[in-house]
Subunit: 437 residues, 2 copies
Amino acid sequence: MSKGHDRHLHLGLWLTFLDAAEWRDPASRAEELNSLQPYVEVAEIGERAKLDALIRGDGLGLPLPDPEQAFAGSLEILTLLAALAARTERIGLIGTASTTFTEPYNLARTLATLDHLSNGRVGWNIVTSIAGEEQFGYDEIPGHEERYERADEFIEVVSKLWASWEPDAVLVDRENGVFFDPDKINTIDHHGKHFRVAGPLNIARPPQGRPVFVQAGDSEKGRDFAARHAEIVFTAQNDIGKAQAFYRDVKRRVERQGRDAARVSILPGLVVTIGGSEAEAQELHDRFLARIDYERTRRNLESLLGGVDLSDIDLDERVPEERLPEAGALTRQPGRAQIFIDLAKEKGATLRRLLQALGTAHGHGRVFGTPEQVADHIQRWAGARAADGFAVSPAQGLAGARLFADEVVPILQDRGLFRREYTGGTLRDHLGLPPVP
Amino acid sequence: MSKGHDRHLHLGLWLTFLDAAEWRDPASRAEELNSLQPYVEVAEIGERAKLDALIRGDGLGLPLPDPEQAFAGSLEILTLLAALAARTERIGLIGTASTTFTEPYNLARTLATLDHLSNGRVGWNIVTSIAGEEQFGYDEIPGHEERYERADEFIEVVSKLWASWEPDAVLVDRENGVFFDPDKINTIDHHGKHFRVAGPLNIARPPQGRPVFVQAGDSEKGRDFAARHAEIVFTAQNDIGKAQAFYRDVKRRVERQGRDAARVSILPGLVVTIGGSEAEAQELHDRFLARIDYERTRRNLESLLGGVDLSDIDLDERVPEERLPEAGALTRQPGRAQIFIDLAKEKGATLRRLLQALGTAHGHGRVFGTPEQVADHIQRWAGARAADGFAVSPAQGLAGARLFADEVVPILQDRGLFRREYTGGTLRDHLGLPPVP
């Protein structure tokens, strides 16, 4: 990867087709929320634009049964990606799965199968989960520390399983009747604190060796975990200075692990609103803001901040500092909480601004403007080493994905910032990553 | 379902494209064992023939690392079916998953997603697993009794989760901004011996209400379990008289549960070899027998029979009765073991014949002949109430699937025994099952 403005970006596309409130539009396809077809259309849009990957989170609970929240129900993402693997050829497929609430042998099989079926296009967004314990017999979710400890061992186990078939174990020697070489398939005999797994995996080595490791590590523990394992780091950043500091910090941590920092791509989320003119973009953005349900969003913010009560604060007042928790003391999403604490403390944001930041983009960056302006924003952040690219979330749903692919990406291509064609077949190829040892 | 010979059969197609030894054929596609393409071809063949479903087992271990065994490595089936859901329109998709080594909340999500993405075409082959404990931290596999007890509770939990969204919970009321009705999404608050699960599921009710329940219940416990839950019963039968007795017994058990026996389809496996003439079929069958590795198959039989030593018995001798175990005392697959014990005791089968039954069809029925003869066999068993149809496993791989679809199915259609067109969209429709209450 070369330096400065001309280096190549990596772009992921959030795999959704309905903006959170967009469903009320008469033309929305809200009825198809659980159907394959609209996801296939997003996937095709992303592939046409030669994007690196489709990405999608996943949740285990049904938070706040809220009648306006179309997304409370969410298809299991690895299953959805398997369907999309069968309808795409080149684009990467990044899905989320929990190390806290799954078994390593099962998840290793699912991801290996996905990597085989997609010819090596799978990425695994590794999460330790911030919810869901009540579905798995826990009284409360294991602590931050314990979750990350289990996650480290989980990754050790699945990595050993994926490596349990050596690359040349499959022979298909018809003449001698030898399908595979049993000497090249090894047990792993893992005996750890959290897992005992004998191995080998019962699936041949995946095409990429293993899925690309993706992580969203906002907290201290999360950053260290990302530094040890991640090849893509997702992050929520809405301030270029803070994003630069995060970027420097993570790359430094990666280097301290003896890894090549250039091979870890930092991709902040970016909620994009595209208009034909500046005025149209402004109008779309205003409409986006107008859709926020401040009452509901305040409850979400209170929950993110560890249960603080903000109900007596006027929307146009600042949140008193003594109401704000120490992010480090929070069990769930301390990094994400920090963004809002910073906004309130350092930027003097009113409650309304906090709720806008949460309600429109969950703390991620936002940009609205003409295709040119959106491209400028992307180029500026990348040039300033605040990002290696973005995980783009179109605020206008399927139409927004189309606008990004057809209007913004060509500008980035013309500026030499983004590929015009895929040069390889696997997600590792798209990211310029070397083979797994 | 009408009575006698003219009733409609249900036919599943084993989702494989390589016969166990066929891979040595120069024209085989053994190199594609882990690629999507050949499975798509099998799926298209099955759908063209209007078969009820594709079916496939799954295993968690890598038994007997044996260099001739192409199938030791096996893709995770639910992931494979998700990919096939995206490439097919009507055929049912039946996959295997374990109640012993998965969590109900996770499996409920995967199967609900599959049912959504396939528009209601999913069946779940419920297994309690006979291997794999060493991958999940167990010293030994939980006993037969405990596995079935857990399986009963597992089914209770996942059924509650699938029912946790009432059918009319999703409103998509644009005018009033109400996506779903929170009063119609219910927690399940399950507190059982094996599981504590709060619910609700975070995915809307699947199109079929829940997947079609499929079970292979050979043992006493298995038959009772099937009687309580199954809508399709897979079984290994290689004798029409025993198959009739099994059929009567299972249907009676179903009725004793207060269920309609006509709505439970009993489908024995059937390994099919099709020739253009009787002589050609015989020759193909002989070639099939000649491929058996008697040494390896004997080890498999010894293991199936609970570790008995048969190494000193000549292939053309009978197995002494005192060497044969009581099937009921076996932890793994007592029902399958019974088939071989019966063959040895009642039919006086030589060791060679036992190994042929195991090595070619794992105890399932076998038929070889012209398309007409294969159709006759199917009609005869169905007419004699030994089966409601078959799970067909073509011994000639992809070519065999094509022969079955193009040569045998039309005969069954001409005889009025099998549909010429799908009349519904879901697997429940194909099976003539009423909606889930």
